[in-house]
C-alpha cells in the first residue's frame, strides 16, 4: 500500500461539528443546577483593599455565594506553572487592572452581574509600575512581596529573573569588528484575542472534583488543582473540550481554582465565562525593549552579537519567564556567530499577567535582531538577502553551541521566499521590499502517551491528550493511525480532552503535537502491528522474523495481506480488539542552559513588497511571501492554513495591535471596538505560502512542528519594506499609520 494518507488532506476530524454549530465549546455545555459566576474587580491597577462589604450583594435573589479571599483557606492558596505566586483571589492589594477581589455565584447571569456590582470594595489606589524604566528605578515600589521568593537575591527588586547566555569572547571580538551596528527596538503588549473567550466550570464529583476548561494543557491543570485542593490526581477530572483558539493564551491555569473552590463551597456546579474584555486582562504577550549591538567584517561576516532584552511581564509570572529565557536564548538568530552575549530580564509590573503567545518570547528579539540585520546591510552596502545567506549555518552545523545543530536546508527556504517576491528585480517608485528570517527552538522537553485500539472490524480509536485548538491535531493523528493500521480515514475516532480517559500528555505548545504526540501515536500503532505480526505468525505457521507489518499491510514471505485479513481470523469468534501503547519522551538535559536542547527548529523566511501612502502613513502589502521548513507536511491543507494564519496574526502586532494604558494602569482600548485585529480586509494583496519539505524532521514521516514559524519575522520584514519604499526608519511596533506618517516627516534626507 502506498503512503497515500500521508501528504493528503482528508476532511478535518471534528470538521462536521465545526460547520454545523454542533461542536461544543466549554460555554456550550449545560450542567444541571449550574451557578453563574461573575468576577468583582476594581477600576484601577494597584490598590490596597481596605474592606469588602458583600451584604448588599448577598441580598440579591438567586445569589448563593459571594466569595472573597477571606472565604478561602488561609493563607490564600497561590499557584502558577513556574512560580507559585498567583493567589486565587487578590490578597490585601490588587496588582493589575482586572484582578478579581471577589466573585459571585448565582442562579442566573443577571443575578450574578447585579450582585457583582453591589459588592462594595473600599480601597486606596496606590502608585504602580507600568514600564521597564519605572520598574528598574532603584526607588521603585515592589510589585511582588519578597516573601514569595525567599532566598532570592533579586527578591527586593522588580526583576523576577535574569538570564545570561552566550559563548566566545564578545569584548575581544568587538575590538576586531570592522563595523558595529546597534539600536533599540520596542515590541508592544498585545493580546491573544481568541474568538472563544476563556470558559471555566467546576462541579463536585463524588469525593473529587470535575473541571471543564478551554485549556491547552489539561494534565498540567489537573496537577495544579490536585495540589491546591489536596486531592489525588485520580480525583481531579479535567474535561478539556477543543478550545476555540488558543495561541498560547489557554496554556495555563487561570480561574479554574477559583471556580473549583466556589463549587466545593456551594456544592453545585459553577460556571465562569469571561467577557472578551476580561480575556484582555487575563492574557497578553510580553512587551519587550531590546538593545542589539552587532559586529561585522566588511564582507558581512558576523563577528559578535550583544543582546540586552528587558521583557515587561505582568504582576504574576504565569509562564512568562520561560518565554523570556527561551526567546532570549535564541535571540542571536539562525546565524554563525563566533561570540555572543545575551542578557534578558523578566521584569514584574502592575499590568495583566503575560503568558505564552504564538512564538513564545521569540518574535520580540527577532523584531530587534532582524531589524538590526537590515540596518547593517545598509551600513555595509550589502544586499539584505546576501547578508543573511552569508551567515546562515549549513544543515548539520552547530550554531548555538551545545544545542541541536541546524536541522534543515535553511538557505533553500530563504532563497525561495526572496524569489517569490522577485527579489532583486526592478520596482516602480514608491514601492519597497524587505525580508527577514525567523527561527524558534521547538520543545526542549516532552512526554506524550497514546493508546490506540484496533477494533474487531478494523476501525480504530486513538487516545491522545493533545488539545485540538484549530491546528488540526485530531486529523493528523487519524491520518497516522489510518496509514499504519490500514483503516479508512473516516473509520478512525480520536478521543481527547478527558483526563479520566485519555493518557497523560505534558502539554500542547511549541508546535510539538505532530512530532511528540504524533510519534506516541505512531509507536502505539507499532505496538498493535507487533501484535498483528505474532497473530499472523500463528495463523500462517510462519516465523515472526519473516513477517513485516507496516503501513496497513502484513507482509508474509509469499504474499501481502491487508491487516483486516489477519485481524479477523486472529481475533476469532469472540472478536475483541488489539490495544497498543506508545510513549514519546524527550528528557530534560540538566546541564543545558534551557534544561533541554531543541527537538527541532521552526524556520521561516518572510519577504514583503510594500507601498506606503505618504499622505496618511497607511501601509499596503502588495506581496507577502512566507516559506517555512516543515520537514514533511502530513496534511498540506492544514499546514498552509496554519502558515497563513500565523502570517496574518503577525500582521496584527506589526501594523495595528497594542494595548494603550492610562495613568491608572487601565487598558484604554479594552475590547473589540478599540483594539483591532486583522480582518478579511487587512490581507496582503498577494499572500504566498510555501513549504520546504526534505523529510528531515524528528516527527512521523520526517515532519517538524510549524504552527508558529510564519509569525516570527513578519514585523522586521514589513518594516524593512517600508524603509526600502520610503526611507522611514521605525523601531517601535506597531507600524500604525500615525507612527509611519511621523517617521516619514522625520526621515533622513535621502
Amino acid at each position: 500500500m502506498s503512503t497515500s494518507r500521508i501528504g493528503a488532506s482528508p476532511t478535518r476530524v471534528g470538521g462536521h461539528g465545526r460547520v454545523t454549530g454542533l461542536q461544543q465549546y466549554v460555554a456550550d455545555i449545560r450542567l444541571q443546577d449550574v451557578l453563574q459566576v461573575k468576577l468583582v474587580t476594581l477600576d484601577c491597577a494597584r490598590a490596597r483593599i481596605i474592606s469588602i462589604d458583600t451584604s448588599a450583594a448577598e441580598q440579591v435573589p438567586g445569589v448563593h455565594l459571594v466569595m472573597t479571599a477571606a472565604d478561602l483557606p488561609q493563607p490564600v492558596p497561590r499557584f502558577g506553572p513556574q512560580f507559585v505566586d498567583r493567589p486565587v483571589l487578590a490578597v490585601g492589594e490588587t496588582k493589575y487592572h482586572g484582578e478579581p477581589v471577589a466573585a459571585v455565584a448565582a442562579d442566573t447571569k443577571d443575578a450574578a452581574e447585579e450582585a457583582a456590582r453591589l459588592v462594595r470594595v473600599e480601597h486606596e489606589e496606590l502608585p504602580a509600575i507600568f514600564s521597564v524604566a519605572a520598574a528598574l528605578d532603584p526607588d521603585a515600589v515592589l510589585v511582588q512581596d519578597p516573601a514569595i521568593r525567599p532566598n532570592d537575591p533579586l527578591a527586593r527588586t522588580n526583576v523576577l529573573r535574569e538570564h545570561r547566555f552566550g559563548w566566545g569572547d564578545v569584548e575581544a571580538a568587538a575590538a576586531s569588528a570592522d563595523l558595529v551596528v546597534e539600536g533599540s527596538y520596542v515590541f508592544p503588549m498585545v493580546t491573544h484575542f481568541a474568538i472563544e473567550p476563556h470558559g471555566f466550570m467546576a462541579a463536585p464529583d463524588g469525593d473529587g472534583i470535575a473541571v471543564w476548561s478551554s485549556i491547552q494543557h489539561p494534565n498540567w491543570l489537573q496537577k495544579i488543582l490536585a495540589k491546591l485542593l489536596d486531592l489525588p490526581l485520580a480525583k481531579v477530572r479535567v474535561f478539556a473540550p477543543d478550545p476555540g483558539g488558543g495561541f498560547g493564551g489557554k496554556q495555563h491555569t487561570k480561574f479554574e481554582p477559583l471556580v473549583a473552590f466556589m463549587a466545593l463551597e456551594t456544592g453545585r456546579p459553577c460556571r465562569l465565562i469571561l467577557t472578551l474584555e476580561e480575556t484582555f486582562q487575563a492574557v497578553r504577550r510580553v512587551s519587550t525593549e531590546v538593545h542589539v549591538r552587532t559586529g561585522f567584517r566588511t564582507d558581512g561576516t558576523l563577528v559578535f552579537r550583544d543582546v540586552e532584552a528587558n521583557y515587561l511581564i505582568g504582576a504574576y509570572a504565569d509562564i512568562a519567564d520561560r518565554t523570556v529565557s527561551k526567546g532570549s536564548y535564541a535571540s542571536c538568530g539562525p546565524y554563525r556567530i563566533p561570540a555572543a552575549r545575551i542578557l534578558a530580564r523578566s521584569i514584574l509590573s502592575h499590568t495583566p499577567p503575560s503568558t505564552a503567545f504564538r512564538g513564545f518570547g521569540n518574535p520580540q528579539p527577532i523584531w530587534a535582531v532582524e531589524s538590526n540585520m537590515d540596518d547593517a546591510a545598509r551600513a555595509l552596502g550589502i544586499d539584505p538577502l546576501e547578508l543573511r545567506l552569508r551567515n546562515l549555518p549549513r544543515k548539520g552545523e552547530a550554531f548555538i553551541p551545545y544545542d541541536t545543530p541546524a536541522d534543515g536546508d535553511w538557505e533553500q527556504t530563504v532563497r525561495r521566499a526572496a524569489e517569490l517576491i522577485g527579489w532583486g528585480t526592478p520596482l516602480p517608485p514608491g514601492r519597497g521590499r524587505g525580508l527577514a528570517v525567523g527561527m524558534k527552538s521547538g520543545p526542549t522537553t516532552g512526554l506524550s502517551y497514546s493508546t490506540v485500539r484496533l477494533l474487531a472490524d478494523g476501525s480504530v480509536v486513538v487516545y491522545a491528550g493533545t488539545s485540538d485548538m484549530g491546528q488540526g491535531a485530531r486529523t493528523v493523528f487519524a491520518q497516522i493511525a489510518a496509514e499504519e493500521l490500514g483503516a479508512p480515514h473516516d473509520w478512525v475516532t480520536v478521543v481527547m480532552g478527558d483526563t479520566a480517559v485519555v493518557p497523560y500528555d505534558q502539554q500542547t505548545s511549541a508546535s510539538r503535537s505532530t512530532v511528540l504526540m504524533g510519534n506516541a501515536v505512531l509507536r502505539a500503532c507499532r505496538d498493535v502491528q507487533a501484535q498483528l505480526r505474532a497473530m499472523a505468525a500463528r495463523l500462517h505457521g510462519v516465523d515472526e522474523s519473516e513477517i513485516v507489518v507496516e503501513r496497513g499491510v502484513v507482509r508474509l514471505p509469499d504474499r501481502v495481506l491487508p491487516i483486516i485479513d489477519v485481524l479477523k481470523p486472529g481475533l476469532g469468534r469472540l472478536g475483541g480488539e488489539l490495544i497498543g501503547n506508545g510513549e514519546m519522551r524527550k528528557d530534560a538535559e540538566p546541564d543545558h542552559p534551557l534544561g533541554g536542547s531543541a527537538a527541532f527548529f521552526e524556520f521561516n523566511c518572510t519577504a514583503i513588497e510594500a507601498e506606503v501612502d505618504e499622505a496618511t502613513g497607511d501601509v499596503t502589502l502588495l506581496r507577502h511571501a512566507t516559506v517555512s521548513d516543515v520537514g514533511r507536511a502530513i496534511n498540506p491543507l492544514q499546514v498552509r492554513a496554519q502558515d497563513e494564519g500565523a502570517a496574518i496574526q503577525g500582521l496584527g502586532h506589526t501594523l495595528m495591535e497594542h494595548y494603550i494604558f492610562d495613568e491608572s494602569g487601565r487598558i484604554r482600548n479594552l475590547g473589540a471596538i478599540d483594539y483591532r485585529i486583522p480582518t478579511s480586509m487587512d490581507l496582503p494583496l498577494e499572500l504566498l505560502s510555501e513549504t520546504v519539505e526534505n523529510d528531515d524532521g524528528p516527527g512521523p514521516y520526517g515532519s517538524k512542528g510549524m504552527s508558529e514559524g510564519a509569525l516570527l519575522c513578519v514585523a522586521p520584514a514589513v518594516a524593512a519594506a517600508v524603509r526600502d519604499a520610503t526611507g522611514a526608519v521605525i523601531r517601535d511596533l506597531p507600524l500604525t499609520p500615525e507612527r509611519v506618517w511621523r517617521a516619514l516627516q522625520e526621515r533622513p534626507t535621502r
Binding site: 465545526r18 474568538i195 472563544e196 491543507l637 478579511s680
Partner: protein, 158 residues
C-alpha cells in the same frame, strides 16, 4: 424583579412562543432559552461577528438586537443550514477548503456568507472579503473562507 415580555419567533422554520426578559438580547435567547448554542458569544459589541444570524433575510449581530425587537421575525441560525443533517453546499465547501480551524467563528462566517450569496450569487473575491469583513477569525483562515464561498458560488452556477 426582571421584567419579561411574550414574543413569538420562527427559528429555523419552527415557531417558538417565549417569555423573555426585556433586556435580554436575541443572542441570550437563542443560546440560553432555546439552547441553540451554535451561535457564538464573543465581543458583545457587534464587532466580531461570532453571533451573526439572519433575521428576516438580513444578517444581524444577535448580541446587538434585543429579543423583543425580534418579535414576529423569521430567524435562521447555523443549526438551520443543515436541517436534515445534510450539509449545505456552503458548509461542505467550508469543510473541503479547510476553512474551519478552531471553528469558533465559523457559524458566524457561514451566516454572513449565506446571506451574501443570497443577495449576490456570483461575488468577486473583493466582494466576499468585504461581505465577511465583520466576521473576525483569529486563526486567520480568511483565504480558506473566501475560497469556500467562491467555490460554492461556482458550484451553484454549474
Amino acid at each position: 424583579m426582571i421584567e419579561t415580555c411574550p414574543i413569538e419567533l420562527t427559528v429555523n422554520g419552527r415557531r417558538r412562543a417565549l417569555e423573555v426578559a426585556v433586556h435580554h438580547t436575541l443572542l441570550d435567547v437563542l443560546r440560553d432559552d432555546l439552547q441553540l448554542t451554535g451561535t457564538k458569544e464573543c465581543c458583545l459589541v457587534g464587532e466580531c461577528g461570532a453571533c451573526t444570524v439572519i433575521v428576516d433575510g438580513r444578517t444581524v449581530d444577535s448580541c446587538l438586537m434585543l429579543a423583543v425587537e425580534a418579535d414576529g421575525a423569521e430567524i435562521t441560525t447555523v443549526e438551520g443550514l443543515a436541517p436534515e443533517g445534510r450539509l449545505s453546499p456552503l458548509q461542505q465547501a467550508f469543510l473541503d477548503r479547510g476553512a474551519a480551524q478552531c471553528g469558533f467563528c465559523i457559524p458566524g462566517q457561514l451566516m454572513s456568507a449565506h446571506a451574501l450569496l443570497a443577495s449576490n450569487p456570483h461575488p468577486t473575491v473583493a466582494e466576499v472579503q468585504e461581505g465577511l469583513a465583520g466576521n473576525l477569525c483569529r486563526c486567520a483562515g480568511y483565504r480558506q473562507i473566501s475560497a469556500a464561498v467562491l467555490a460554492t458560488a461556482e458550484g451553484a452556477e454549474r
